[in-house]
C-alpha cells in the first residue's frame, strides 16, 4: 500500500471556486474541505495539501473567507473557514464563468 491513488488533476483556477462552493454548506476546516471535494467528486478530484493551504490563505487575504479557531469532531483544535458575502458574490461570478466554459468545451467535444 502507501502508494497514493491516481488523482484527478484540477484545472487551473478551479480550486478557488471549489473551495468557495464547498463552504456554502457551512464552515469547515482545511482537511474537511479537501475530504468534501474528494467525496463530492466521487473520488475523481483530489486536492493537494500543497495547493489547498496557500489557496485558503490567499482567499482569506482577499476577504472572501473568514477564519476562526474551533474544536473538531475528534476534539482537536482546528481552524475553520466560512464564506463571506464578498466570497459568495465571487463564487457566483466564477460559477457562471465555469458553466459557460464547461458547456462550450462539452459542445466542442461532441461535435468534433
Amino acid at each position: 500500500m502507501g502508494e497514493a491513488p491516481p488523482t484527478g488533476e484540477l484545472m487551473p483556477g478551479t480550486l478557488d471556486m471549489l473551495i468557495l462552493k464547498t463552504l456554502t454548506r457551512g464552515e469547515l476546516h482545511g482537511y474537511g474541505i479537501a475530504q468534501t471535494i474528494q467525496r463530492a467528486s466521487d473520488e475523481v478530484l483530489r486536492v493537494e495539501e500543497g495547493a489547498l493551504y496557500p489557496a485558503l490563505h490567499r482567499l482569506e487575504v482577499r476577504g472572501w473567507l473568514r477564519s476562526s479557531w474551533g474544536t473538531s469532531e475528534n476534539n482537536r483544535r482546528a481552524k475553520y473557514y466560512r464564506l463571506t458575502a464578498l466570497g459568495r458574490r465571487e463564487l457566483e461570478r466564477e460559477a457562471a464563468y465555469w458553466h459557460r466554459v464547461a458547456s462550450a468545451v462539452t459542445r466542442v467535444m461532441q461535435t468534433a
Binding site: 482537511y31 485558503l56 482537536r76
Partner: protein, 904 residues
Amino acid sequence: MKTRHDLISIWRRLIDMTGRRRRAREVDDELAFHLAMRVEERKRTGLTDEQAALAARRQFGNVTALGEQTREMWRFPTMDSLIQDIRYAVRTLVRSPGFSVVTILVLAIGIGANTAMFSLVDAMLLRGLPYPDANSLVVLIGNVQRAVVERRGNSYLDHLDWRARSTRFVDMAAYSTTTMTLMGFDEPERIPIETVSAPYFAVLGVSPAYGRTFKPEEDQVPNRDMVVILSDALWRRRFDADPSILNHTIQSSARTYTVVGIMPPGFTGVSDTAQLWIPFALSGTAFDNRGNRGFQTIARLKPDAKIDQARAELDVISKQLERQYPDTNEKRAVEVSPLSVETYGQLKPVVLTLMAAVSFVLLIACSNVANLLLGRSEARQREIAVRSALGAGQSRLFRQLVTESCVLTLAGAAAGVAFAQVAVKTLTAASPVTFPSFVQPGINVVVLAFTIAVALVCGLLLGLAPAMHTRSEKLGDALKETARGSTSARSNRVRAALVIAEVALAIVLLVGAGLMIRSVQKLTAVDTGFNPQALLTLDVSVPRQPAPTTGSSPAGGATVAPAGGQAAPAPPPPPFVVSSAVILERVRAVPGVTSASLASDVPLDGNTSAVFYSAEGDSTSGAQTMPRAYVHRVTPEFFDTLGIPMKAGRTFNESEARPDGTAVIVSENVARRFWLNQDPIGKRLKFGAVTSQNPWLTIVGVVGEVKYRGLPSNPTGDPDLYFPALDRAVQGLLIRTSVDPASVTSAVRAAIRAAHPSIVVFNVSTMADLVKAQTSASTFTTWLLGLFATTALVLSVIGIYGVMSYLVAQRTREFGIRLALGATRREIVAVVLRHGGRLILIGAVIGIAGSLGLSKVLGGLLYGVTPADSASALAILILVTVAILACLVPAFRATRVDPVDVLR
C-alpha cells in the same frame, strides 16, 4: 470591484504585518491538524501508528516549505523582492569599496549641503513667524510721495483714524522700540524695550504666562498708570523667575512701574529684542501732532480679508485724511507690508538664491556619479546579460539598477545629514548675518523628509542613466565578451550631455560668485565719508539727579517694593548727575585714546531723525521738493574725531553750545543745492517753511557728505545738519584710538563709571564692525556662493576629466591606427581637444545664458556690477581653462599609444 479587492488585500496584509509570529504559529498549527487527520485516516485502514505517520508525511510533502508558501500569501510580493534587491545592491557595493566610498562621499557633499540650506529655508520660510496665523499679520507704515515713495512712520492721530475707520482688520496696535535704564540692581542696566498700545499682544496672538496684558484705559493720553509687562528672559535674569513680582514695582531711572504681566518664554516682541513692554501712552510720542511721525503699527487682517483689500481701504482713508488735513497729510499714504516680509525682507532672497546654488552643486555631484555608474554598468554588461538570460524581466532589471543607485544616494544622504548638522551649526555661529532669535535651523522631521526625498529622486535619476543604456544593448552581443565599441554610442551621448551639464551649472555658480565677490569688494570700498578705522563707539545714558520730592535713592532702594507709592511728576527736569564735559574729559585721559566726541547719534546706528527746512532766498522748492535733512547734535571735535573733512568755515566754538544757539554746520550737498559757486558761510536756514516763526540759523561751516544712515548709499539722498551738542539723557560717544579700538573698551567703561557710577554704557562697538554689519547680507551670500562655486568647479573638473579619459580609452585602437597611418601626435591631441572643446563650449553657452537669470535673482544683493562685469568673464575663463586642462591630460595619454601594441 478589482480595486476594492486590492484595497482589502493591502489592508489585510498591512494588519498582518503586526502579527507575523502569530501568523506563522497558526499556519503550523493548521497544517499539524491536517497531518494528524491524515494519520488517523491511514490508521483506520489498518496501518500501525508509525507506518501511518510515515505515509501521511510522504503524501504531505515538505511541511516547512508548505508553511512558508502559505505564509507567503500574506506578504507584499514587491516588498520582499525589494528587500532582496537591496541585499543584492549592498553586496555589489561592498564588493567595490573604492567606488562606493567615492560616490557616497560625493553624494554626501551634495545632499548634505542641500540639507543644511534647506534647514535654514525650513526655519525661516516654512515654519514661519512664531505667532498663530502669522500670515494675517501686517505692518502699517506711513509713507510719503516725493521723488520716490519714502517710508516715514506713523503719527498717533493718523493711527487712531486708521483704527477707527478701517474694516478689514481684526485690530491694530501702535508700537515703537526704545531703551530703558533699569535701576535697583548693583549696576543700572540699559535694556531694549517696546512701547505698545493695548491691543498689541492680542493682535500678535500672544497671551501672558502670568498676570495680564495692557487694558484699553492704559492707552489713554496722558497715561496715569505706570504699568509694565516683563519678558520671560528679564524675569528669570533679574527677578529669579518669582511670580510674586506681579503687582510689585520696578524702578527705571525716570519712573516706578507696577508689574502687571509676564510674557511666555521666547517672546521678545516684533522687534525681537524687547525685554519689557510699557503702554504706548508713555512713549513720549507727540500725541496731538498729526505731522509728527515715527512709530509703526502692527495689524491683523480679518480671516476673510485679502491684503490688497486692506491696501485699497487704507488708500481711501489716506485720501480722506489728506483732504481733511492738507497741512500734515499731503501726499501721505500707508504701506501695508506682511510682517514676514518685514522680518525676513533681505534674508529671503539670499536664502532662496543659496538654495538654488546648492541644488546646482548636487546636480553636478549627480552628473559625476552618473558617469561613474555608466562606466560600471558597461563593465557589468555580462552580468546583466546573464541575469536577463536567466529570466529577469526588463522591469525587474531596471528596478534592480534603481534600487542600487537609491542605496547609494540614501547612504550619501545619511552621511550628508551628519555633515549638515555640523554645517548648520558652523553656519549660524559664524554667519555675519544676524538671524531672528526664533530662527533655529536644525535637522527635524520636515528636513529629514526633504533629504530622503532628494536622495530618492537622485537615486531614480542615477538609475535611469545605466538603465537606458542597458535597454539598448543586444543581449547576445553582451554575452559575447568581445563586443564593445559599437554598443556604446548611446552611453557616449549620455556622457556628452553630462559634460555639457556640468560645465553649464559650474559656470552659473562661478559667475554668480564672481559677481558677488566683486560687489562686496565695491561695497567695502564705498567711501563712508569718515574714517571708520580705529574708532570705538558706544552710547551713554546719564540719569538726572533725583528730584527732591523722591525719597529713595536709586542705588540703595530695594529691588522690589510694594505698589502704592506713585512717582511724582516733576515739571522742570532736574539736572543730570554729571555734565558731558566731565565724561569727555575722563575718556580723553584713557591711554590709547587720541580724540573723543559726543553726538546725539552715531553714524550707522539707525537713530537719526529728519526735519524739513528752508533756505533763505530759495524759490525753487515746492511742497513736494521741500528740503529735508537729518539733524545731529555734536561736540566741536566731532568732525576731527571721525575724520570728516571740513570743506569751508569752521567747527563750533564752546559759546555756541546753547539751547537757543543759531550756529549750524551743513554737509556739502546743502551748499551745493542752494549756493552753488557762492560762499555758503553766513547764509541762513530755518526749520519748516520760510514763513514759519522759527529763528534763522546761520551756517558757520561746511563738511563732507557722510554715509550716516546706511551703506552703500544713505537710503535717501537728504543731507545732514549739525548743531552744537547739549547735555542729554542718551548720547553717542565716539572715540578715536591710537591702538586697537576694542582693546580700550574696559578702560573707557571704567573711566565713565568713575565720572559717575550711575551712568550706563551700552551699544559698545567698533565703527569697523558697524560698517561690516551694513554689508553682512552680501558678505554672507558671497561666502556661501564662493564655497558652492568652488565645490562645483572641483566636482565638474573631476567629472570632465573622467569622461574624457574614458572616451580616449575607448578610442585607443583608432588612435593607434591613425598613428600607424602617419598621423602626428599633435593631430591626435587636436582630435581629443576638438571633441572635448565642443562639449565645453556648448556647456559654456548654456551656462552664460543661465547666469544672466541668476544675476537677475541676485539683483538687490549686487552693488555696482552688471552681469557683463569682468568678474563674469574671469569666471568663465577660469572654468573653460580648467576644463580644457582636464581634457589635455587624456589627450596626451592618447598620443602615447604604441601603434604596434594596438594593432597586434
